[in-house]
Symmetry: C2
Subunit: 192 residues, 2 copies
């Protein structure tokens, strides 16, 4: 998606430790108009696949997840990272190691909101080693729902998580795949 790649080149910042900071438009300040364009792109990719539920994970997946659910005319469900007073009853649960936060979280979805008959599109803002996706796929599997595929805004291709999932036969569509980054020069190169 050219508009997204251009935005990454103009406004993204590369930091040591393979960190690509896009918080001026994607995950701290959000350019909602760009989100709408991203959602349309996912609809072009998955619009004929009978998706009836979008699944993401808090916090930074929620904005893009809402936009995509709007494009598909279906609800968004977001997995929560810790058990709060407000989740009662039976849940599906798995674990996710966070690259950004440097910790491991339990993630949960109420069994009320993922059902056997659901056709699920998993959406997230970033894909690096794939930990969040693996955790979300596990939730879909526990629900015995059908996983249509995954839609990622920015994949760090050089960290391998996306290709590992593709090798297992899971459909993973990323709108921008970063092949390499250089913090010393601030360069970002995309997979063609």
């Amino acid at each position: 998606m050219d508009a997204l790649k251009n935005r990454i080149l103009v406004d993204g910042q590369v930091f040591p430790g393979n960190i690509l900071k896009v918080d001026s438009f994607l995950n701290h300040q959000i350019d909602v108009a760009l989100l709408q364009e991203i959602a349309k792109e996912f609809y072009l990719l998955y619009g004929k696949d009978g998706v009836n539920k979008v699944l993401t994970i808090e916090a930074s997946g929620i904005g893009i997840g809402c936009a995509v659910a709007g494009a598909f005319g279906c609800p968004l469900v977001f997995a929560k990272k810790s058990k709060t007073k407000n989740i009662a009853g039976a849940v599906f649960t798995s674990k996710v190691a966070s690259f950004t936060h440097g910790n491991v979280s339990d993630i949960i979805v109420s069994q009320d909101f993922l059902k056997k008959e659901d056709r699920v599109l998993i959406i997230d803002d970033f894909l690096a080693k794939g930990n969040a996706l693996v955790g979300l796929i596990e939730l879909v599997s526990q629900a015995q729902a059908h996983l249509v595929g995954c839609g990622i805004v920015i994949e760090k291709g050089f960290q391998g998580g996306g290709d590992q999932l593709r090798a297992k036969g899971i459909r993973v569509e990323s709108l921008a795949i970063v092949e390499s980054m250089d913090a010393s020069k601030g360069n970002v190169a995309f997979r063609s």
Copy 2:
């Protein structure tokens, strides 16, 4: 907002401890179509006030914040609850005690995304004692930005936070104000 109040009456669940669970449509599973209607309502209330930035707090404010920012054609900024690897540089910061999670969080916004010239609408899904709003208002104040007002989806009027802020001259608009709840009967009564 009648559609919202009706939805609360039909799908909301009341639990002991003044908990109103609306996670089938607002903060776990999200009815994106309802979110769009809610956003339109806030635009009716604040559309002539020159809002150029919507501010909310992760996680459950992000969905409604995105919808409202879309209605206003401006960016959303969401305050983060912990310092991650991906926030570098100067930040505004305050503290928020969470009714739902039973803890106190530092909340932060990068100084890049709240500026003196901004006219800010604060959006959140819930208002009870007002802790989150007070923390967000403090961030706006640190930025020396102009606070246009606050837009809340569901206010628990009996917990007093909204009225305390109104008494200080802050404009707080809530689309549904719950005046009382009864967990034993499952009743919810709205302020008229």
